[in-house]
Symmetry: C2
Subunit: 705 residues, 2 copies
């Protein structure tokens, strides 16, 4: 059975060519190849087994389409989520096996929704107005749509015209109305929520042969191209493929971007969507992966759940499509192998086939500057890497733009990874995803008060205040700027400046990954320069993972009483455990993390104070983790914080041995420090190194001799 539809779109070609079903992630041609491939390619076989197991599980239970009632993680929420997963699983299983029972399940489910959908009121636990219908957020409704339409596409040919008519009229047309009319404000945003919406509506347009829906999706409800998918591609990504909300949301948004692009490619190849903006989607997939560490987790910048890895489903879609359609290269197969699954689809088939042919090469983590902003001029992320994928040291400097509502006030924040774990970390979001007893699974109030606060990050806090006064609108007006980036063999450096976060204070941070002669690994040299004509209090926290094993200076512990360090801007959430003054010698704090030692050795003088702090004050609902930091503190007009964070030694608790529990870097001395340059020396294994940074020189920005 074949449906021929003639549609003319904005002067472009018709969508005749692909008006057969399925034509999204699966095509007729693909399906026959997949059937043959399941016997040959283990990754495809196991992935299909999973899909089929899900489909069979779906068939075991009666179809339940409850009246929407619960927030994230609640019963009706999870049921509707299961429903769309089951529909896609059964749709796929129908295509591959040809067994009618799977198609019937999808049909029955869709007819049930078609019968109910219109009757439901707005969601009783909605978080915005007008808000979602099936779920508490309109966003989840859109995700539901992206899955459901794929399931429908898979069984399209198995349905009667009458059933199709009922489903398209009473469900998908209503859904499109919900998204593009009722929630048009969201639909027309330049934001990941809008991407899910336009993907659902646009794919529904292709599958149902409703050109006007595709039009809305591509060019916005005003059809002027100022919003919609193309405008999102223009504005949400930088030329380097960085998504402005940060890696966590880049992961989330990549699925609708990729799946909808694939649909556009199938139905309207003449749009050359894969080449749009010099192939920005191909870059986006690579950038997503480059924004992970060897523990597979995304850098938890901005609002981020820290356990998200590239094993998440979104990245399986992205990697499969990038490999099969973008020619992204065999290193992607390394990731696919670790994901240990493919999407049962034309794209997944190619990946599974290539993995079976043993074509995978190791994924190449590359030190890089990733620009932010649609024009690439709104700062970015600097990533330094040293070592192999098995034993890598990595530094991340966040010098990106605010990243909209999920952005943190953490410009020039530095993360440090080593030994496959976080060493200097970012708290991420204060959220218990899908745990309904925790604010319905949404961000808790501490996310604004703590998660976003400047002091919750490894960056300088001026006068104990948040950057930009904690005001997103203000922060969105300015971006940090790249001063210098270079990644050589023994020396990698990123330097960035932020001049607007605090009025009258210039913040300039330079992070260097440097491996001295004979060192087992690279050191992080960190030079944070604050310049002002007025006196300020500067606080520089180091939030670490591990347990302190040594402090080389005297301090006073608050052994019998803990008080918060302040009353606002995140300080209200900090307990002060101890404070010390290293004096004129270098201070050094050593901790043990994952059986390896780390020491931050830092320049000190008589005015420097060090606070030892723990997160958790003013947390009556137990929403915060007890994370710990040492924080350097000084009052000054100009102040340069110079430190070396060094991985060293190890301890093996099973075999019971310990080596190198004391650091080799020592005796940091400032030689000269002017607005144009910083020169300091340090010793490593008794050898003297002099570091010269010339902030205005692109030719010879840094030398270490």
């Amino acid at each position: 059975m074949k449906k021929i539809v003639f549609l003319i779109m904005g002067g472009l070609c018709s969508v005749i060519a692909f008006a057969q079903h399925p034509s999204l992630m699966l095509t007729r041609k693909g399906v026959s190849e997949i059937r043959a491939g399941i016997d040959k390619y283990p990754l495809l076989a196991s992935s299909f087994r999973e899909v089929k197991a899900d489909a069979d599980k779906a068939l075991l239970n009666p179809i339940v389409v409850p009246v929407p009632a619960d927030g994230g993680g609640g019963v009706t929420h999870e049921q509707h989520k299961k429903n769309y997963q089951y529909v896609l699983a059964c749709g796929t299983a129908y295509q591959i096996t040809g067994e009618k029972k799977y198609a019937d399940y999808v049909k029955d489910m869709l007819l049930k929704y078609a019968a109910e959908y219109k009757r439901w009121p707005r969601h009783p636990k909605r978080r915005q107005e007008p808000g979602g219908k099936i779920f508490w957020q309109n966003l989840n409704d859109a995700v539901w749509g992206v899955y459901m339409i794929q399931g429908y596409d898979c069984v399209y040919d198995a349905l009667s015209a009458a059933d199709r008519n009922k489903i398209e009229t009473d469900l998908f047309a209503e859904m499109v109305n919900e998204m593009s009319v009722v929630n048009s404000k969201v639909f027309n945003l330049i934001h990941n929520h809008a991407t899910w919406n336009v993907a659902a509506v646009g794919m529904a347009g292709y599958v149902c042969g409703r050109k006007e829906w595709v039009d809305l999706a591509l060019r916005g409800t005003a059809k002027d191209g100022k919003t919609g998918f193309l405008a999102q591609l223009d504005q949400l990504f930088s030329p380097d493929g960085y998504y402005t909300e940060g890696p966590y949301y880049q992961r989330y948004a990549i699925l609708p971007f990729m799946v909808f692009a694939k649909a556009i490619r199938q139905y309207q190849p003449e749009l050359n969507i894969y080449d749009y903006r010099n192939g920005v989607l191909k870059k986006a997939v690579n950038t997503s992966l480059q924004c992970t560490y060897t523990n597979k987790a995304f850098f938890p910048l901005n609002d981020a759940m820290k356990d998200k890895t590239y094993e998440s489903e979104e990245l399986v879609y992205a990697v499969d499509i990038a490999y099969s359609d973008f020619g992204s290269g065999n290193e992607l197969l390394d990731i696919a192998r670790q994901q240990n699954r493919v999407i049962v689809s034309d794209a997944g088939l190619k990946v599974a086939k290539a993995v079976a042919a043993d074509l995978a090469t190791p994924f190449v983590y590359t030190p890089m500057w990733i620009s932010d902003g649609s024009n690439g001029k709104e700062g970015g992320i600097g990533i330094l890497r040293s070592g192999s994928n098995k034993d890598q040291t990595c530094v991340v400097m966040k010098a990106a733009s605010q990243g909209m509502g999920h952005g943190h006030f953490d410009r020039l924040n530095v993360l440090f990874y080593d030994n496959n774990t976080e060493v200097l970390n970012d708290y991420g979001a204060v959220r218990f995803l899908n745990v309904e007893t925790k604010n319905g699974g949404g961000y808790t109030k501490e996310n604004d008060a703590w998660g976003k606060a400047t002091v919750a990050h490894n960056t300088l806090v001026v006068d104990r205040q948040n950057q930009f006064g904690g005001k997103m609108d203000e922060a969105s007006k300015f971006s940090p700027q790249l001063v210098y980036f270079n990644a050589g063999k023994t020396l990698q450096v990123v330097s960035a400046v932020e001049e607007h976060a605090y009025k009258g204070v210039k913040l300039l941070r330079t992070a260097v990954l440097f491996k001295p002669d004979g060192a087992a690994g690279a050191l992080l040299l960190d030079i944070f320069k604050a310049t002002s004509s007025d006196k300020h209090r500067y606080d520089l926290p180091f939030w670490y993972t591990g347990h302190i094993t040594n402090i080389n200076f005297a301090y006073r512990a608050n052994a019998t009483q803990l008080l918060p360090l302040g009353d606002k801007d995140g300080y209200q959430h900090i307990w002060l455990n101890a404070e010390g003054k290293p004096g004129i010698a270098n201070g050094a704090v050593t901790f043990l993390n994952n059986n390896k030692f780390y020491t931050t050795t830092f320049l000190s003088d008589t005015s420097l104070k060090v606070n030892f702090i723990t997160c958790g004050a003013n947390d009556p609902e137990f929403n915060l983790r007890s994370e710990k930091a040492y924080m350097l503190s000084a009052e000054a007009t100009d102040r340069s914080f110079v430190s070396i964070t060094e991985p060293h030694g190890k301890t093996n608790p099973v075999a019971e041995f310990t080596t190198g529990f004391m650091p080799a870097a020592r005796n940091i001395r400032m030689l000269t420090d002017t607005p144009d340059s910083t020169v300091f020396s340090f010793e490593y294994n008794k050898r003297l190194y002099t570091v010269t940074i010339r902030y205005n020189s692109k030719d010879e920005f840094i030398t270490i001799k």
Copy 2:
């Protein structure tokens, strides 16, 4: 070359038969079989590769025998440790390869020690008097001896008579003097330190043909059998093979017990050492393994480093010897496979051969009562287990005797494991093993003040005091007693009583692992009954791993100030975060741990208080971890704490779904509670269960209907 020695020992047979070298873990016959086996058995091959790599690494560097100076983890400490490991590696490599360079290394090393040993003073950082010579503890000297004598045995035949004489006279005879004369107090203890000492001295006696040393080792310096190896075997193990100091030290002591027993078996088979006390060593190996959870870690009872697993070298020795010499069965091969190595030895050969023949069967974790005390009447450990090795729920009740100086004041302590992780946990020891900056790698002072304190454990604290006033001598006089143990299919139970920990208070605890109809896993029912004629304050903490997601009653949080809960007996180390009163309804606290939910639902009344607490007050040196607990508290004469701890639901942060975040057990009601019986009911998934416990009935101790 063969040395024939005639020695008569205590009326028993001579040691002629085995007066060839090597004759400890390796024998001549074994060596030739091992050479052939390396090509055939992968586990032997990889284990030998490791030994040879170590030996080759040793050869790369000049021999360094420094004057002893540092504490645990320090430079000279680690060097001397490396030396004995290198000597054994080179000795073994010499036997297998026949390459002289390895024998030369051992010779040079031993001669160097022989030249230096006598000159060294007592260790400058010694922790006891007279104390160690090479190391800060005499114990480490003995460990050194156990390894060195094996290395010497391996190269014995390759040395000249003159070199042997020098080594035996200037080193081993001096070592024996150090241990049996200078440190005779330790040598004659009934304690693991003494076991290491007698093993070193006894094996030196066999290898050097010095019968008198063997005599000392077997029967103590007075040669009356009141101390020495046989007395240790008599007194340190229970008839069930439980080592009184607890699983962590059982692991540690098992190596010298096994290796020395093997030596005795080789040289004096007529002693039938393997059958001693009905094969107590065979039982000890099995008990060691039964005292682990599926995460491979030993139950961290008493002073214990929590990361110790059965992958540690001691257990590799134990498993190899038990399999090859004791006939311990193919389930041990499952452990060997996970250890992923064997000792390159006669025993290891047999294990590797059996593993290669695919004879391994899964290790069988058995619910059991393990008696403590040389007569088996000093309490014990009750272990309940439900589920497979992949997904096991496990309850441990500690009702053992004090366990000497490393014992904690934690009678009737209950640990709860699930989902391959700790759920209700034990802090273990306050120690940073081998980290010299942390009290020289030894126990920190918080180990006494916190680690051993009653309140640091999941057991009842009376009047905020330690059991037995924290006095070891007092505590050593009494043991808890088993009331009842049974492990059925749907119901497992352990019940024990402690009548002396607090004057005038009888403590009776019953832990039940019970799987209601339709439950995914088993619940822990916990009935803790305190009886007294006087009024007392009873505190029952639940130290948990995870993050609180729900509390079903009102509480007041100490949001802006934390104070210690007390000033002694561990309470000085507790911050009080919040306190609440559940009232007459059941209280319930839910937390998330390793992506699974756990709820403790407990009987309450208007007098019950719940404290939410964190460890870490009065910790000026940052020695404590920030562990957390909820603690039930009431003032009463008699009081029964009844609770259900239930694993439920799960959350998958990568795939983003959550199920069952609320518990199914609820509505606990006490029906009757007398000195002889406790009857209570609860609902699970709307079904009512009535639990009847008859404390005096062995026939029908518990029914759940």
